[in-house]
Assembly symmetry: D3
Homo-oligomer: 270 residues x 6
C-alpha cells in the first residue's frame, strides 16, 4: 500500500479501510487531502482484491470541510483579468469535483463512518459515498452559504437524492446544524451508534458482509443504481439488459445458485 | 374472463382483483407467471370497464421471487458462443421486463397487497405497482445479489423513487431482510394491516374508491406521474398542458363540477 | 409597493411578506390571484433589495384552490370546434403554470406559511415554493381528481420530489385529506406550529436569517438546486463549475471568510 | 413464410425481400398494411436466418400514404365525448406508430427501394428504414398538412435526422413535391437508379453484401446508431463500452481477424 | 397595428410582413430592435388572423449584427464587483435570447428574406426563423469571435441543426465570410434569388401558400418539429400522439379530406 | 516538448503541430499511439500558449486503424470467465475512448489533415477532431464491421453529427470505401487539397488564423458547440448565459471592440 500524507489506508481481507488523518486540523480538506482521495479511490476501483471500502476519520471530527488556507491560496493566485480567472477557477473546481467523483466512480461500495463535525466539504464527501453511518455526537452543516458561495463539489447535486427536498433547501439556505437524530430520520445516515469505536466496528462488519458477495453482482448493482439515478426508468431497464447480457454468463451466478440449493456458502473470485 | 394457469382474476364492479396462485411454490415466478402477468395487464389496460386493479397473492407468501427452475432452464439453453448467448439473454431480460412494464403501462392504478415473503422478483413486481400495502408479517429482500447477479427487471430502476438512496443501497448490496415496520417508515408501503384478510379487504376498498372517480382524471393522473418521474419539471408541465388541451373538454369535468355544486356524488362513464 | 387587488405585500427589511387576501372566499384563486402572483414574483425576482420571500394567507384557510367561477367562465368560452378549443385551453394552462413558475423562477427563496385548508391549486402553489411550514390545523388535499381532471399546474410534477412516490399516488388518485402530522412525517412541511400567529412569526424569522446571508451564495444555491433536480448529477456538477467560475470572484466570498476569521458577522450588499 | 394479404415476402439467402402489394390502390396503407408491417418486421427481427431486409413495392408507386377509407372509418368511430375520443385516438396513433417502430426496432438493416409516389404515410415508412434508394421517377411529399393534420407516425421525428432543417420545414409546411434529384442532393436517398428493375436489383445486391458480414457486428452497429441518435455522445460511448464487453468475446471477431490475415472470406453463423 | 420605432409591420391577408427598418445603420440591432422583435412576435403568436410571417429588412443589408453602441452602454453599466456584474450580464443575455426565442416560440412559421450582410446577431436572428431565403449578394459571418466573445443568443445552439458540423466549427472559429452560393449548398438557405425585389416577392408567395393551409395542421407541425429537435425520437412520437388526440378531432381534418375527395380547395378558419 | 515514441510534436507560434509517426506501419494505432494521444492532448488542453492544434500523419497513409497486434494481445489476455472478461474489456474500451475524448475535451480547436487511408480507428480519431481537411487521394472506411465488431471508440457516436444519416448507415453496414470527393460532398471534410504538402500548409495557416483570435472567445465557442450537440437548444442557451456572465467581463472583449473601431488588429493574451 502506498504511503499517504493525510490518510491511513489498510486492507482487512477484501475491505479497504481508508482513514482521513489530520485530526489536529479537524481533518480539514487540504490540497493533499483532495489529491490523495483521488489516488486512493482510483486504486480501490482497479485493484480486484478490494471489494468494499470503509471511509472513516481519525480524531474528534470527521471533517470541518475545505481547508481555509487552501481557499486563501487560491484567492491569491487570481489576477485582475476576470475571463482568465474564470477559466482557472472552473478548472480548479472540476479538479476538486474529480476527487469526489472518484469515490462515486469507484466500482466498489463505499461506506462512510462519521463522528463529530461533518461540515461543508465533508458533506460533499459523504454524499459521494454509497451509505452513511454516524455516532450520536455527529452533526452536519452545509456551511458553504456562510462563506459566501454556493456549494460546488457535489452537495447540491447528490444530497437531494438522499434527503427530502424541503429539508435540503432549509439546510442549504440557512446553514443550520443538523444533529444525528434528525440525520437518521431524514435518511442521511442509515444508523446511529453510541461512539466512534462501535461505529467503526459495525461499519467494517457491514463492509465484510458485502465483500463476501459476488463482486460481479455487487459492482453491477452499484453501476445500475448510479445509472438509474441519472436516467429515466426505461433507459435504466435497457441498460441493465445490455449489461447483464454479459454478466449472466459469469460463473458467479452458477456458483451462487448451486450454493443456495446445497445450503452452502458460496465463495467468489475477485 | 380468460382462464389462467397461475392466476385467479375476478372483476368486482369496476375493480379487477388479480391473485397470484402458486401457493405451494411460495408463488415463485415461473415462465407461466411472467407470461400471464403480461396478458392480464394488457387486458386490464384496454378493457374500459376496469378502472383499478388489486394485485394480491394466495397462500402464506406474496412471492419468493423468480422460479429457480426457470433460471436453470435458461442456463441450459446457452451455447459456448458468448456473443450469441448475450443476444439471447438480452432478449430474455427484455421480455421479462416487458411483463412488469405491462403493470406500469396499465393505464389504471394498480394496488399491491403483500403478505409474508416478498423477495427478489417479488420486489421488482411490487415496485412496478402504483401503491403497496402489507401485513405485519410481511418481509422484503432484494435477493438478487445472493444469486450472483444485479437485479435486472426493475428493482434497481424503480425502487430508488420509492425509498431513500442510502437505504436502497444497503438493501441492494447486503441482501438483508426488511420487516413491515421498516418498510412502512421507509415509504415502501403506505400502510400495514394485521393479517391477510384485513389487508385484502382494505386494499379492495381503496381500489373501489379510486374506481368511482372519473377515469379520465385518474388515468391522466397516472400518465402524468410516470411522465414526471422520467422528465424535468418543465417538460412535465408542457406535457400536461398538451394533454389537458383535450381532456378538459371531457364531460367528466362538467359532471364533477355540477355534482360538487349540488353536493351530489357524480357518476362517470368508463 | 404596487397596489394589488387580492394580495397584501409588505417589505420588512430584506424580506418581502406576500399575503393572499381573499379570506371571505377561502382565498380561492381567481383570475386576479393568478395574474398578481405572476407580477409579485417577477418583482421579487428582480428587485435586489428583496432577498427572501414569505408567502402566507389571511383568514382561516390558506387556499381552497382554483376559483370555480373562473373554471366556469373558461368553460363558457369554449366553442364547438375541438381543435381550436384545445389550442385555447393549452394556452390558458400554460399561462396559469407561468404564474406558479414565477415563484420557482424567483431567484430568492420563497417560504410558505400554511394554515387551514390547502387544497387543489393551493398545493400546486406551495409545491412551487422552496420550503413549507404549517399550523397544526392545516390539511392538504390534491383535489383535482374530484373535479374530473388531472392536476395541471405543478402538483404532479413537483410534489414527487418532495414526498414519497407511494404516498403521492395515493393522495393523487383518492383525493383524501392529509393532516399536518402526516404532512410533517411525509416531508411536505419542515415544521408544524400551534397557530397562525406563531407560524408566521417563525417563518418570518427564518426568512430574515436567510436574507442576512450573501445573496450571491443564496441565489446561486437556489439556481443549483433547481438545476440539479432536472438534470443528472454529472450535468449539475459541470453547471456549477461554470457558474462559480464567475461567482467565486465576488467580494462576498472574501468578506465572508474575513468575517469568519475575525469572528464577526459579515454584511453583504444586495 | 406466412401468408399476407397485402405483402409478398420472400427470403433470398439471408435477405428477406418484403414487397408491398396493393398496386391497384397505389399501395395505400390500409388497416391490413399497418398490421402486417408490424408482423413481418417482428418476424424479421427474431428469425436469425434473416440478416438484412429489402422493402419494396409492386406497381407504379411506392405508396400514396394512409388509406383514406381507413381514416374515414376512424372518424366514424368517434362519439360526442371529446375526452374518450382523445383516449381512443391516442391509442390508435400509438398502434400505427408501433407498426413503423417495428421497422426501426428490427435488429437487421432495412433498405427501402422507392419508385413513383412516396407520399404521406409512405414517407413516415421510409424514414423508419435504415437507408433509402429510389428511381428517377420517384417523388416525395409530406402530405399530412394537406389533410389538415400534423404528421404523427414518424416523419416529423425521424426525417430531421436525414435532411437539413430548413428543407424539412419547407416540405412540412407547404406539402410541396420533391423529385428524385433533389432527394438525392438532400440526402434523403443514397442513390438514384433509372428504373424499378435496376433499383430492386441494386438494393438486393447491397442487402446481400450486408448479410454476408458478421451479424453480431451489423446488428450491434444498428443498435449503436439508433442509441447514438437519441442520446448524448458521452452516453453513447458508455453504452457501446458495456455492449461490447460481451460482444467482443464473440467468435466472429476471431474468425474475421483470422480471415483477414489469411486473405480469405470469413463465413459467419446467424 | 402598433407603431414601432425600428420596424415596419404590415399584414397582407393572413401573412404578417415584418420589416427591420434601420437601413442607415445597416439594420444594426439596437435596444429598440431587440425589444420590438419580442413584442412583434408575441403579437404574431397570439393573433389568430396571422398564419405565417415574413421577416425582411429595408436597405442594402439584412443586418450588421448587434449595435456596438449598445454593447458599449452595457459595458459602461458594469461595476467593480464581479459577482454582481455576472448576475446583471446573465439577466441581460437571457433577455436578448428571449427576443429571438419569441421568433421560435411564435406558433406560426417565420420565413426570413436576407440580402447583403447578415452578420453576428443577424445570424442568431435568422437561425431562430423556420426557413431562410437570400439574394445572390447575401453574405454571412459568425462575427462574435472577432469581438472577443462566444456567440450567446442562439447561433451556436441552433445553427448546428441547419448546417454540417465541420463547416459550423470553421465558420465559428475563423469568422470567415460565406457567400450565398456556399450558404445554398450548406443548407443555410433554401433558395437564392437574383435581387431583393424578387426575393421578397417569392418569400411572400411561399408565406401565402402556407397561410392557406389549416392553421391547426401548420402550427401543430411547427410545435412537433421543435419538440423533435430537442428530444429523442421515442419522446417525439409519444408527444405527437398526445397532441393529436385533441387535434384530430378538429373540423379542419374533415374539411380537408372532403375537399380532397371533391377536388376542391378547402378554406380553413383561423 | 516531451519525447514521444509514436508522435512528433512541434509548436509553431501558438499552434501545436502533432504528427503521427509510424509511417512504416501505415500509422496503425498501437498501445503507444493511444497512450500518447491522451498525453499530448492533455498537454495541449492545459498549456495556455497552445491555442490551436493540427493533427497530421507522416507517410503515405493517415492511419490504417487499430493495430491488429494490439487486438491479438488483448484477445490473449482473456480468461474463460465471461463475467470477468467483460469487466476487463469494458475498462479497456473506456480507456481507448478516453484517448480520443482527450481530443474532444482539449479546449483548443483541433484540425485534422488527412492523406491516403483513414480507416477504422482512424475515422474514430478524426471524428473527435473539430474540422477535417484531406488530400485528393484520401479514402475513408468504417472498417470495424469487417473485423466482426461494432465500432466502439466514437465513430458511431460522433459521425452522425457530421454526415447524413442514410450515408452513415450505408458506410457502417457495408464497410465500403469513400473517396475524397464523396467525403467533401458529404461534409466529412471541409476542403480537399491536391497533395500532402499543400494540405498541411493550408491547415497550418487556418490554425494560425484561429490562434490569433481571442482564446477566451475561441475556447468558449468550442465548449458551447460541444454542449449544444449534446443538449436541447433551451439548455444550450441557458448554459451560454451562465458561461458568458463571467466571460463578457474579460479584457478581450474590450480590446477587440476597440481594435475594431480603430481598424487595428487586436492582440490577445494566452
Amino acid at each position: 500500500m502506498s504511503d499517504y500524507k493525510t490518510f491511513e489506508v489498510e486492507q482487512i481481507g477484501k475491505v479497504a479501510h481508508v482513514r482521513l488523518n489530520r485530526p489536529d486540523k479537524a481533518n480539514a480538506m487540504s490540497e493533499d487531502v483532495w489529491r490523495e482521495i483521488h489516488a486512493i479511490f482510483d486504486w480501490a476501483d482497479t485493484d480486484p482484491s478490494v471489494r468494499a471500502v470503509v471511509f472513516s476519520a481519525n480524531g474528534k471530527h470527521f471533517s470541518s470541510g475545505i481547508d481555509l488556507a487552501m481557499m486563501a491560496g487560491l484567492g491569491a493566485s487570481l489576477s485582475k483579468e476576470v475571463g482568465r480567472n474564470a477559466r482557472l477557477l472552473r478548472r480548479k473546481i472540476i479538479e476538486l469535483q474529480g476527487a469526489l467523483n472518484a469515490i462515486e466512480h469507484c466500482s466498489k461500495p463505499v461506506l462512510a463512518a462519521i463522528q463529530g463535525c461533518c461540515y461543508g466539504g465533508g458533506i460533499d464527501l459523504v454524499a459521494a459515498c454509497d451509505i452513511r453511518y454516524c455516532t450520536e455526537d455527529a452533526r452536519f452543516c452545509i456551511k458553504e452559504v456562510d462563506i459566501g458561495m454556493a456549494a460546488d463539489v457535489g452537495t447540491l447535486q447528490r444530497l437531494p437524492y438522499i434527503i427530502s427536498d424541503g429539508l435540503m433547501r432549509e439546510l442549504a439556505y440557512t446553514g443550520r446544524v443538523m444533529d444525528s437524530d434528525e440525520a437518521d430520520r431524514a435518511g442521511l445516515v442509515n444508523a446511529v451508534y453510541p461512539d466512534h469505536g462501535s461505529l467503526v466496528d459495525a461499519v467494517l462488519e457491514k463492509a465484510q458482509l458485502i465483500a463476501a458477495k459476488s463482486p460481479i453482482a455487487v459492482q453491477g448493482t452499484k453501476e445500475m443504481l448510479i445509472y438509474a439515478r441519472d436516467h429515466s426508468v426505461e433507459e435504466g431497464l435497457n441498460y441493465v439488459a445490455s449489461w447483464n447480457a454479459a454478466m449472466l454468463q459469469s460463473d458467479d451466478l452458477k456458483r451462487a445458485i448451486m450454493a443456495q440449493m446445497s445450503k452452502q456458502t458460496p465463495v467468489f473470485d475477485d
